[in-house]
């Protein structure tokens, strides 16, 4: 879990490529293969999560709104006012 916590999208993609290259080489034993597949699935899920996070719909905030929300300790929500409207 701690590995996932420090992952970035690009490092996860790079690692997936490495995993697939290793699997394609046919040199991995059964245990390693299963572990690699498990790790690969975890990474794919992570990347999919990252992509989902930037596909929720554009949310526009003004800096002062963000600061106010952060100071209030609440997570900025979907009610963010579009800058256009502001």
């Amino acid at each position: 879990m701690s590995e996932i916590a420090t992952l970035t999208y690009e490092s996860a993609c790079t690692r997936i490529e490495d995993v697939i290259r290793r699997l394609d080489s046919g040199e991995a034993g059964l245990r390693e293969t299963l572990e690699l597949c498990q790790e690969g699935r975890r990474l794919v899920e992570f990347c999919a999560g990252e992509l989902d996070a930037v596909a929720q719909g554009l949310e526009e905030l003004r800096l002062d709104e963000l600061v106010a929300r952060l100071e209030a300790g609440s997570r900025p929500g979907a009610t963010a006012q579009a800058a256009q409207a502001a």
């Binding site: 970035t8 690009e10 699935r41 930037v54 003004r62 800096l63």
Partner: protein, 439 residues
């Protein structure tokens, strides 16, 4: 040394003085020109040439032009890289004349001792000086060393509130298929309040932990308009921010100082937005699906291949036994067939041998009988030769005891009361006399 030329006669009818040696006149002209009042003139620079000792250029305006020269050390002191044609300058100095000689041409120039770049040129010179100072301090590098996320969730944008740059940024993000969170920090982008406001906006955005990258966007304008983005404090702030800054200020021909200190400089706000999200989300999603499919395929294949091997291995002993059983059956069949063939062969051989023997026996029967007859005859003759009767016939007699056993010694004969003497034609009973020692 050449002798001075003799003074020629003047032009007949002319009322002018002379003729004077031209060198004298040139020297007088030089002295007269140097006597002109020293002034400041301004105009546009053209054809600047930097030599080893001097710098030459022309100053022009709509009504005239002046050839100018400047000592190289004075020029270097200005700290100017160069001056493009059309740069407006103010030059201080006075007239000078090089009188020339028999081997060199004379030349006139306005000898510049001080120079100041005016108008935009002035601004450019300032920018250039600051650029060199920032570069010398290594402030162009820190931003470029920052890691830029390929898929930021939150992007900060500094731009003018009503400008076109804002729409361009949104268009760039849409093109990437990105729909995360944008935090706008609107600021004036071209008056005297611009630089401090932009600096503050950048600092505030960078202070929000959520913000992973900042775009500074402004459309085109004159150098004076864009000068806020060359502000020293602003540029030093950008250089030391923890968040990567992507700048897009002015047109692609403009190069403001923020472009130098930022992580990436883009020609348009749209490109800046694309640089802020290097990953095309649509493509990335498709690519990820492909990777996931490959992963699943590999995973399945690894299991299936091994299961096949295991199945083959588990079948192997049974297959082995079956193979041996089949071989044994075959060998049994071959053995039986071979036995049958052997018996038949032996029977045939025996029959043949018997037949041959029979034939041989039949063939040998006649001769053998004759031979055997002869042998018998010979044996009979041999037996006859040993017959006691024949010995008796030759005059010998055989003494037998009453039991009919031959008596072979005198002592034995004395033991019996009667004896029989067998001659060849019959027997005679005899009674032995008592034994008398011969004297």
């Amino acid at each position: 040394m050449l002798e001075p030329a003799p003074r020629p006669d003047g032009i007949p009818g002319s009322r002018l003085s002379g003729p004077w040696p031209v060198g004298d006149y040139a020297a007088a002209l030089r002295d007269r020109l140097r006597g002109f009042k020293r002034v400041q003139v301004f105009g546009e620079v053209f054809g600047l040439k930097v030599g080893r000792a001097k710098v030459w250029f022309e100053l022009r305006d709509s009504s005239g032009a002046l050839p100018c020269s400047m000592w190289r050390k004075d020029w270097d002191a200005l700290g100017l890289e160069s001056l493009g044609d059309g740069s407006v300058v103010v030059a201080a100095g006075g007239c000078d004349f090089y009188a020339g000689s028999r081997a060199s041409s004379p030349s006139f120039s306005f000898a510049v001792t001080k120079l100041r770049v005016a108008g935009e040129g002035d601004l450019l010179a300032q920018v250039e000086r600051l650029r060199r100072a920032l570069a010398a301090e290594g402030l162009f590098e820190p931003q470029k060393r920052l890691a830029r996320p390929s898929l930021p969730r939150t992007i900060g944008v500094v731009s003018g509130e009503g400008g076109k740059a804002r729409d361009d940024v949104l268009a760039g993000l849409r093109r990437r298929g990105w729909a995360g969170r944008i935090v706008w920090a609107f600021a004036p982008v071209q008056d005297r309040h611009a630089a401090p406001a932009i600096t503050r906006a950048l600092q505030d955005l960078a202070a929000c932990e959520e913000i992973e990258v900042i775009v500074v966007a402004r459309g085109g304008g004159s150098l004076a308009d864009l000068f806020a983005f060359c502000d020293e404090t602003l540029c030093r702030t950008v250089a030391l921010l923890r968040v990567p800054v992507i700048s897009s200020v002015g047109h692609h021909t403009d190069r403001t100082l923020i472009d130098d200190v930022s992580a990436v400089a883009c020609s348009t706000p749209t490109h800046a937005a694309e640089a802020a999200v290097p990953v095309d989300c649509g493509e990335a999603r498709a690519q990820l699906r492909g990777l996931a499919a490959r992963l699943e395929h590999r995973s399945r294949l690894a299991i299936v291949e091994r299961a096949r091997v295991l199945a083959r291995l588990s079948r192997a002993p049974a297959d082995h036994v079956a193979r041996h059983r089949a071989r044994l059956h075959q060998q049994g069949r071959e053995l039986r067939a071979s036995g049958r063939r052997g018996v038949a062969e032996a029977t045939r051989h025996t029959s043949t041998t018997a037949l041959v023997l029979e034939r041989k026996a039949r063939a040998a029967a006649g001769a053998e009988r004759v031979q055997r007859g002869r042998d018998l005859e010979r044996l009979a003759m041999a037996l006859a030769a040993h017959e006691p009767q024949r010995t008796l016939e030759r005059g010998y007699a055989l003494v037998e005891d009453p039991a009919g056993e031959p008596v072979t010694s005198a002592a034995a004969a004395r033991e019996h009361a009667t004896l029989t003497v067998r001659l060849h034609d019959g027997t005679v009973s005899v009674r032995p006399q008592p034994y008398r020692e011969e004297s």
